[in-house]
Symmetry: C2
Subunit: 330 residues, 2 copies
DNA sequence: AATTATTATGATATTGATTTCATATCGTGA
DNA sequence: TCACGATATGAAATCAATATCATAATAATT
């Protein structure tokens, strides 16, 4: 059933029906006629047709590297909370860390499918930049910084610095590092730089033999810990770029009777749900993931409203959470 | 820029452009003209306009009770994998366990917004049923059973039964239970029934004093464990309806020097990532969440293709994973 | 060679809504 | 009483695409 059939059924004009759904001038008796007919027929206006004429889809495209990650789903929850409030729905694309899917979904969002885009990318290439430039809708980037766009990001360098410093302050002399791919500027590069700054500031040197790069999984953390500890290397503190990596690494330590924190202190980033129930509760850095989602969504809404060309970068701070894994007295 | 402006720019007819994007008959030289013009202009056809005429949105509505849950995000990952393959995108609605949002998103999906719907509901009311009946697109339900619809669900009763039985077989005589809201048929009621069947089969009785209902969170599990163990009650095995609840409960046991498994065995459901890195690795039941998403999506695709009125229920089986938390010898 | 199939074409109708426009009615202040 | 703004109305134009249709040009089959 379409609007004109429905209008006939209700005994009013097509315009009246449209006005009913769009808060135009409409006499009370017509409203009643329409409401009665709505109950009889269950008619609903077509969103696609509405979108053609009014150019509003009430859809926001959200591009994610994966779905089953605690940090990402917290961001998404924040986004969904704010946008849901304003009557927007999310068109979610899971790129599964696949570069091509990321590109093709940006293409997709150029087809008048969405009113705005929120991008949680990990890597930016030239192709990303050129596609983003072609976008005709507002774009907000969460988790990374890109000049010319509204961004919400975390102080990754600071978070890594503080956590490493916390361990070095307790007397550690041989720091080790398990990080992420440095192409990922935030979680990979910046957290590495924070680690290095703390090490250098403590008058120590960053030894590449004590540094590993892992994937974002527990099993990868386990594997890299094996490489770090199975040689004659003897790190006395270990900074991991994510809690998942840290949890995997600690599993290796446990299986090999390396005591935490007595033999090695361990620190992570992310404040994952499981941190406090690990066999040694894990010290970590809380990053405001949900807040990032909330603020990113608000930024998008305001950019969509003003159409302002001024872009700003909102960097959220962090909080150190100390638990037993770094509870050592010098 | 719209199709007719673009057609003029490319020097071909509007029909030719439409055929180019829809694999109709088209001569090679026109294809080339169009491709050249595409590069020059960056034209993209409007999806909304296309949807009005062709009644295909290439969008699947997915209704979830929350985003930041490991089990749910695994289901979603499975869904996204299969549907992405077929060129569908997900219109995600996070109901945040809010009954009204669930209803309103079903309403939303009646407005020709999506080609199909996947519903991960926990509770079914009459209003749910009547709205589902009004749906003009295919619907698949994941995680619960509802007559008249294609469903993919887990053997929740069996999973709970087997895990409880495992503990009782090791000599436990005083079983305890921390479950979920029984309005949630699958995770609440069925897992409770499985627990009860195992208890009765072992010749024991289900004592309500040893049963608690928790929310789906670690902190709620902690709280309910406190209530269970702080009285003079002395359970020697504890079945929890989810791993999150179990992890919270174990945290309480640890803080109160109640040994696992020596004093109490603990079993959960869900095979969460963190299970094996808990201070006592947790025995659990693996439910095929991702498979549920994959199979649900496939069901939806085939229902959309045939438009068949035959509905089937696919019940996925489970696998017991034994770890230290139940590793006790009688 | 005649007859079908297949490929190819572009004008026009159609989809289901909103927007515009010309016009009518009503209450209120000058 | 007149003029003006606010309220109200429905026909028709518009949005950006696809579907239909009538028709032409090849290719394949008898």
């Amino acid at each position: 059933m379409n609007i004109s059939e429905f209008a006939k059924e209700a005994g009013v004009s097509v315009s009246a029906v449209s006005r009913y759904f769009n808060n135009g001038y409409l006499a009370e008796d017509k409203k009643e006629k329409i409401e009665a007919a709505l109950k009889r027929t269950g008619y609903m206006p077509s969103y696609s047709a509405r979108a053609v004429r009014s150019k509003v889809t009430k859809l926001i495209g959200v591009i994610l590297p994966k779905l089953s990650s605690e940090s990402i789903s917290r961001v998404t929850e924040g986004i969904s909370e704010v946008l849901g409030e304003e009557g927007f729905e999310l068109l979610l694309v899971n790129t599964a860390n696949d570069y091509n899917r990321e590109i093709s979904s940006l293409e997709l969002f150029r087809q008048n499918r969405v009113d705005g885009v929120i991008l949680l990318a990990s890597v930016f290439t030239d192709l990303h930049r050129s596609l983003l430039a072609k976008m005709r809708v507002s774009v907000v980037i969460i988790g990374q910084q890109l000049k010319g766009y509204n961004c919400v990001c975390h102080n990754d360098e600071g978070a890594a610095y503080s956590m490493t410093k916390l361990m070095l302050n307790k007397g550690a002399k041989q720091p080790a590092f398990i990080g992420a791919n440095p192409d990922d500027k935030a979680a990979g590069l910046d957290r590495r730089l924070g680690f290095e700054r703390a090490v250098k500031e403590a008058g120590l040197t960053v030894d590449p033999k004590y540094c590993e790069i892992a994937k974002f999984s527990m099993s990868s953390g386990y594997e890299k810990a094996r490489r770090l500890f199975s040689n004659r290397l003897k790190p006395d503190c270990l900074f991991c770029a994510t809690d998942n990596i840290a949890a995997g690494a600690m599993q290796y330590l446990r299986e090999n009777n390396i005591r935490v924190p007595d033999d090695v202190m361990v620190g992570g980033v992310g404040d994952s749900r499981f941190d406090k129930v690990l066999y040694v509760p894990l010290s970590t850095v809380h990053l405001h993931y949900k807040t990032a989602g909330i603020e990113g969504a608000k930024m998008l809404l305001s950019e969509m409203k003003d159409g302002s060309e001024v872009h700003r970068i909102l960097q959220l701070e962090y909080e150190i959470i100390e638990r037993e894994s770094t509870d050592k007295h010098c």
